[in-house]
Symmetry: C2
């Protein structure tokens, strides 16, 4: 995710005076290309964070918690991709296309949501804003990239093993992922929702300022390399004509409508990979429930689902939309 953020800063011509790359001891010393220069990766230490205007975090929650104080005390703003502060009422949880106004209330820390949440809210917000949602039922189809580069490597390695007639060996995931799928492997709570599902429920509610919005969600890992997909059933308080919903999605920022009913062509992970926009389509009336719609989306979990959203937040902090 760090590498992807560096790429985005360059692609989007982020207004930088200087760029410092920090990582654990393991990555320190590596060189990354940036705008024709070769930048060294330095070791993440409290001193290295001083004097920075904006710090983009791509670490686990415990590392984010450990360093947030240092960044804020030194006068910087911390844009955190981890789950450390997402439910902290003092920290805005921001998806620029949805709740940019929340950003102004930050006290030095801004949280970027979970990847599956970001893809969902970008697609659903234009509809919810027009006519309030009554309930959401979501099933996810989440790529191996959700477990980082190691997850993607495991999918490739296991796939080669299966094709060679060998038994796939699992290191990153608890179960084989090659030619297989399973409910999301995050910690399961007393309510029997896994952590990924709880994140989608609670983060969506915070971002929408709808504290009690009913959301049922089932998160599933699938043998796809890089983009997540979601089947979304949306119940509204009042009927929502399909044509009106489509028109709203077509003009909404961060979305690309992909719908060709003749050719049966809708959003797919291979087409969403590497794209900034969340692909959305297959919008249809749910015949089982008056006032309900179904839609289908695919979005790059590493870009809009993580790195791009954080960079967009940083762009706003650096002075206005780019």
């Amino acid at each position: 995710m760090g590498t992807e953020m560096v790429k985005l800063l360059q692609e989007r011509h982020f207004p930088l005076a200087s760029l410092k790359l920090l990582a654990s001891e393991r990555s320190a010393g590596k060189l990354l290309d940036f705008a024709g220069e070769s930048l060294p990766v330095e070791v993440l230490r409290p001193e290295a964070l001083k004097g920075q205007d904006i710090v983009l975090g791509a670490t686990e929650a415990d590392v984010a918690r450990q360093y947030a104080g240092v960044i804020v005390e030194a006068g910087g703003v911390f844009v955190d991709n981890s789950s450390a502060f997402r439910q902290d009422p003092a920290v805005p949880l921001v998806v620029p296309e949805v709740n940019l106004a929340d950003l102004t209330a930050h006290c030095g820390i801004v949280a970027s949501p979970n990847c599956s949440t970001i893809l969902l809210v970008v697609a659903v917000w234009p509809l919810h804003r027009r006519r309030p949602l009554k309930r959401l039922v979501v099933s996810t189809y989440q790529a191996a990239s959700g477990a980082g580069a190691a997850g993607m490597a495991e999918l490739e390695r296991q796939t080669r093993q299966v094709l060679a007639g060998e038994v796939p060996t699992a290191e990153v995931f608890p179960h084989p992922i090659a030619f297989n799928l399973f409910p999301h492997n995050s910690a399961i709570g007393a309510d029997r929702y896994c952590e990924e599902e709880r994140k989608m429920v609670h983060e969506t509610r915070r971002i929408f300022h709808s504290a009690a919005l009913p959301i049922a969600v089932t998160c599933v890992r699938v043998p796809v390399l890089r983009a997540h997909s979601e089947a979304v059933n949306l119940e509204f308080e009042e009927p929502f004509p399909v044509a009106e919903a489509l028109a709203l999605l077509r003009e909404a920022p961060g979305l690309q409508v992909v719908e060709d009913w003749e050719r049966n062509h809708f959003p797919m992970p291979v087409e969403a990979s590497g794209q900034d926009a969340v692909l959305v389509g297959r919008v249809r009336e749910d015949l089982s429930c008056p006032g309900a719609l179904d839609l289908w989306l695919s979005g790059d979990q590493i870009r809009k689902g993580a790195a791009l959203n954080a960079v967009q937040i940083a762009e706003q902090l650096a002075g206005g939309r780019r």
Copy 2:
């Protein structure tokens, strides 16, 4: 599917006086092992169907329509796996675990449902029978085997291509299936449901004798070789305690409960493949809706999803449960 039925007749010691194997010209002349004998495949012709007590069909709908009359006129019973007669009010649509009583009303033709429908009704019936469903929301994760042996071969071939850095070539599916997924590639109707989705709605209603049961369904093809999975959200008229639901599922025929919350181990396609039972688990309260439950299932699309269900129907016709 034909090969799988022959295997099942042998495994389950079907009470056979004789067995005749019929296929198109392309397969005629091949030999299949059966109970120590080598049986030749003959060409499917009207004359070949005369004098048979039971004919198990594993053909497309048009072939089933073409030959059904000959079978019935000759006094045989036709157990059809195609979609030809599934919505014919004169033809019972049967899943033995659910609506065996419907079988007695047959007039020479019995239909076996669509694979995704069979897996769904076997898992949901024990609950619906106890407390009536108000609405179902289903998302499927369907294996390449749904498009037959050619679909499985395409997934394998494309996967090798992608791993070799080549562009995958699509022949069976309209889009790449390797490391990708897409909404089900069956014909889309005016209501924007695809044929697979319409089958699940209408067949489930017929089997349950619940002509207006509201069912929302999204069917998706995933890069899995052989078993289908489904995320099922069930709304009931009254609250359904999880413990009671689980107890019903544990004692229901055709199901195996797979639930290990500690180890995050639930039904998976690789474990469902080759199994007769539909694997079901991850039964939890849906926190978004009072009286709703979520469950997750995986089932072998070729066995219980097709060949096994047809053979079970034939066993009943041949004189009682085996």
